[in-house]
């Protein structure tokens, strides 16, 4: 059908109104209230297969991605076994194809078994289809080894996606170190644990001339280091997550108000306060302060931030329904990312064009690939409540459960095929 007069934003963030063809047929529907965006690209998702299928599988993760508007997802390598051999890369890619949902791009481990001891065969892994390398979940602590990794990845023509964390400083911390951790009596992860790791990694990128991508940057200080590295002409890129763009360490103490909704959320929302110590707020890097959130948005505006990536980290309830200190780190994020970002844009934290760039052309450039010819249709006014049933992901570990969001994906088209929601186009258009 033809969606007529839709607001279309391209991968460079430019906006125009035009008619868009979705799937078969010549029927015309009024798309005046809808947004048409290129298929979103997520540089950072944990699909948990093989090894942790109770939390997610490639198929459930790829469907959750589509539901969230991501037509391409990079699957992290911290599975069991880790994705550190060409066979595992090929197997992961095959499962992605079989799922016929979002396009799944395998990221291979930097070190064998993600042990941080010995490099994996990076050139061979790239040839097998790995689009990048990452030991994500863990940093490569050993600096000379990380230097070698950068050199080899450069030779393989792929970026390193590095989890930036100085583990000697983060220690046994479980949340951001600050006034809230002091009040809650929880061990903190200081901003310095991220910033010193970013400084080291940038120094090694300069030394090697390799492409370095820093994952889930969460502090104002770390972002300032990236800004300076870019000004120095280094091939350094970075990503930020939707949760670090909207939530603060106050959420660990029970707040459920986004940084941009001081007034307390949409109509029908549950009270913007819940009990403290909800392990759904436990994520690494931790939720930081409002000042950090605003600094990340400035980074999106000035291009310091290349990509917004979900760090979708599904965990089965057995790993979350425990004491805060013992709970796994991670927030399930694929299906709520776009709504959070659209709400933030509406609240004036950023420009829609810049957000779309950071979800499409930005991550494509990090990977050194063209933006695929996918598209999604979004109803920016659709309100919905985040519930366990509403999420396609196998895991429901998000602090947004019960919260009302605005903005929903209506249709997702991958490789010319409407793989999500085609039956809903007409309903969405008529409802407006």
């Amino acid at each position: 059908m033809i969606v007529a007069g839709a607001r279309r934003i391209d991968a460079e963030g430019r906006e125009r109104t035009e008619d868009v063809r979705v799937g078969e047929g010549r029927e015309r529907i009024d798309g005046g209230a809808l947004l048409v965006l290129p298929g979103l690209i997520d540089l950072h998702a944990h699909l948990r297969e093989p090894g942790f299928e109770e939390s997610e599988t490639v198929a459930t993760g790829a469907r959750a991605a589509l539901r969230g508007g991501f037509t391409t997802v990079c699957a992290m390598a911290n599975t069991q076994p880790a994705i550190d051999s060409p066979g595992l890369v090929a197997e992961l890619a095959a499962r992605g194809r079989d799922a016929r949902a979002a396009r799944v791009l395998p990221v291979a481990a930097i070190t064998r078994g993600r042990q941080g001891k010995q490099l994996a065969d990076l050139v061979e892994l790239a040839a097998a289809g790995a689009v990048a390398f990452s030991d994500d979940g863990d940093p490569v602590d050993d600096a000379p080894l990380f230097r070698s990794a950068l050199e080899y990845a450069h030779a393989a023509g792929r970026p390193i996606l590095e989890h930036v964390q100085d583990r000697s400083l983060s220690g046994r911390g479980v949340m951001h170190e600050g006034a809230v951790s002091a009040a809650l009596g929880l061990p903190g992860i200081p901003a310095a644990a991220e910033e010193s790791a970013v400084a080291r990694d940038i120094a090694l990128a300069k030394l090697t001339g390799a492409r370095l991508h820093l994952q889930h940057v969460s502090t104002a200080g770390a972002l300032e280091l990236v800004r300076r590295a870019k000004a120095d002409g280094l091939a350094v890129t970075c990503e930020v997550t939707p949760h670090h763009l909207s939530m603060t360490d106050d959420w660990v103490a029970g707040s459920r108000a986004f940084v941009f909704e001081e007034a307390g959320g949409l109509r029908g929302a549950r009270p913007p306060q819940t009990l403290p110590y909800d392990s759904a707020t436990k994520v690494n890097p931790p939720l930081r302060t409002a000042a950090d959130v605003h600094a990340l948005w400035r980074g999106i505006a000035d291009g310091t931030v290349d990509a917004i990536a979900t760090d979708h980290a599904p965990h089965a309830s057995i790993r979350k329904d425990v004491e805060y200190a013992d709970a796994a780190f991670g927030i399930s994020g694929l299906e709520t990312a776009l709504a959070i970002l659209l709400m933030a844009v509406e609240a004036g934290l950023g420009e829609l064009g810049a957000v779309v760039r950071a979800l499409t052309s930005g991550p494509a450039r990090v990977l050194g690939m063209p933006v695929p010819d996918d598209l999604i249709l979004v109803d920016p006014a659709a309100e919905w409540t985040v519930t366990a049933d509403a999420l396609a992901s196998r895991s429901k570990n998000t602090p947004l459960l019960g919260k009302r969001l605005r903005g929903a994906v209506v249709v997702a088209v991958v490789d010319g095929e409407a793989r999500y929601g085609k039956e809903r186009v007409r309903a969405a258009a008529v409802a407006r």
């Binding site: 929880l186 200081p190 110590y277 805060y324 200190a325």
Partner: protein, 316 residues
């Protein structure tokens, strides 16, 4: 003022009136404890489960005496010798407690926030008997009772809390009990054992920080010394116990800097010669034994309030 709370998890959201209600009730309980037969039937037929997932003798016995003085049935679940040792999760324990049908669960746990986890999933009332570094509300209340008895109205009084504040649930609960009563708190201790935000000026209302013990104690109305855990040295947070004792230990000379007769408190157990000298611990300013008695009274008052039974009759 009527009692509305279902649980006692922390006092950080309590009003002055709520705290005063508990202290007044505690005074009534002290009278019960002073009787020849220290027992009242207020909680007869009620079950209090003492769930101690972290070792504790003093607090557990205090709660046990409190429950028995109210004629409640008590049972004890401890970490050692129970299924917790065999890898039972907190969720499993909650399900068991729920099935046992306890009226009140008193719990001690090494993880901050564990009482919230339990309270959210159980029909019983929950009393936090200490969770990690977070809170120890009955300690805060018994300290408040002890200080109010010694000093009268606490408004305008300055109380020094000295020691390992970073790892101390006692310090946090003292802040959240004494500040609402009008006192100000001066935190004092090694900067490595102070939450960084508090050391850098982001302090809770009514609280200041001074790393110099002599200066902090000058003219103070009372001091609460915290227990120093020896393992802090292994973590590189302390050069030596000697350095700590010299710099922050409560000596006779140091406590003499306070107002005349200003009392000295300690939650126990003490490391005498490290955070407190024996002469101070057992000297005329010490209210440390008084704290123990008051602890039983405060716990009786809370058990009684949570059980929602009629007021205890106190002879005029």
């Amino acid at each position: 003022m009527t009692w509305q709370r279902r649980h006692v998890l922390a006092t950080d959201d309590w009003s002055k009136e709520e705290i005063e209600l508990v202290l007044d009730q505690s005074n009534a309980m002290l009278e019960v404890l002073a009787r020849p037969i220290r027992r009242t039937p207020a909680l007869r037929g009620r079950t209090v489960v003492l769930f101690f997932a972290e070792a504790s003798t003093r607090t557990r016995i205090s709660f046990e005496l409190a429950a028995k003085a109210l004629s409640a049935d008590t049972s004890i679940i401890t970490a050692s010798g129970s299924s917790i040792e065999k890898g039972e999760t907190l969720l499993d324990t909650v399900r068991t407690l729920q099935a046992l049908g306890a009226d009140i669960v008193v719990m001690r746990h090494s993880a901050a926030g564990a009482p919230y986890f339990v309270a959210e999933r159980i029909a019983s009332a929950v009393i936090n008997a200490g969770d990690g570094w977070h809170a120890h509300p009955t300690q805060g209340l018994l300290d408040a009772l002890t200080l109010r008895t010694a000093l009268g109205d606490l408004s305008g009084k300055r109380i020094v809390v000295v020691g390992d504040v970073l790892h101390s649930r006692v310090a946090r609960s003292d802040i959240h009990t004494l500040v609402p009563l009008g006192a100000t708190i001066t935190l004092c201790g090694p900067p490595t054992l102070m939450p960084s935000a508090w050391r850098c000026g982001q302090l809770p209302a009514g609280v200041t920080f001074d790393e110099d013990a002599d200066r902090a104690l000058d003219g103070a109305d009372a001091v609460i010394a915290l227990r120093l855990q020896r393992e802090r040295m292994d973590a590189g947070l302390l050069p030596s116990l000697r350095e700590y004792a010299l710099t922050w230990g409560l000596t006779e000379a140091r406590v003499a800097r306070m107002r005349p007769a200003a009392p000295v408190l300690h939650p126990g157990p003490m490391n005498e010669g490290i955070e407190i000298d024996a002469a101070v611990a057992h000297g005329p300013r010490s209210l440390i034994e008084r704290q123990v008695t008051n602890g039983v009274a405060v716990r009786m008052a809370l058990l009684h309030l949570l059980a929602g039974t009629p007021a205890v009759e106190v002879a005029a």
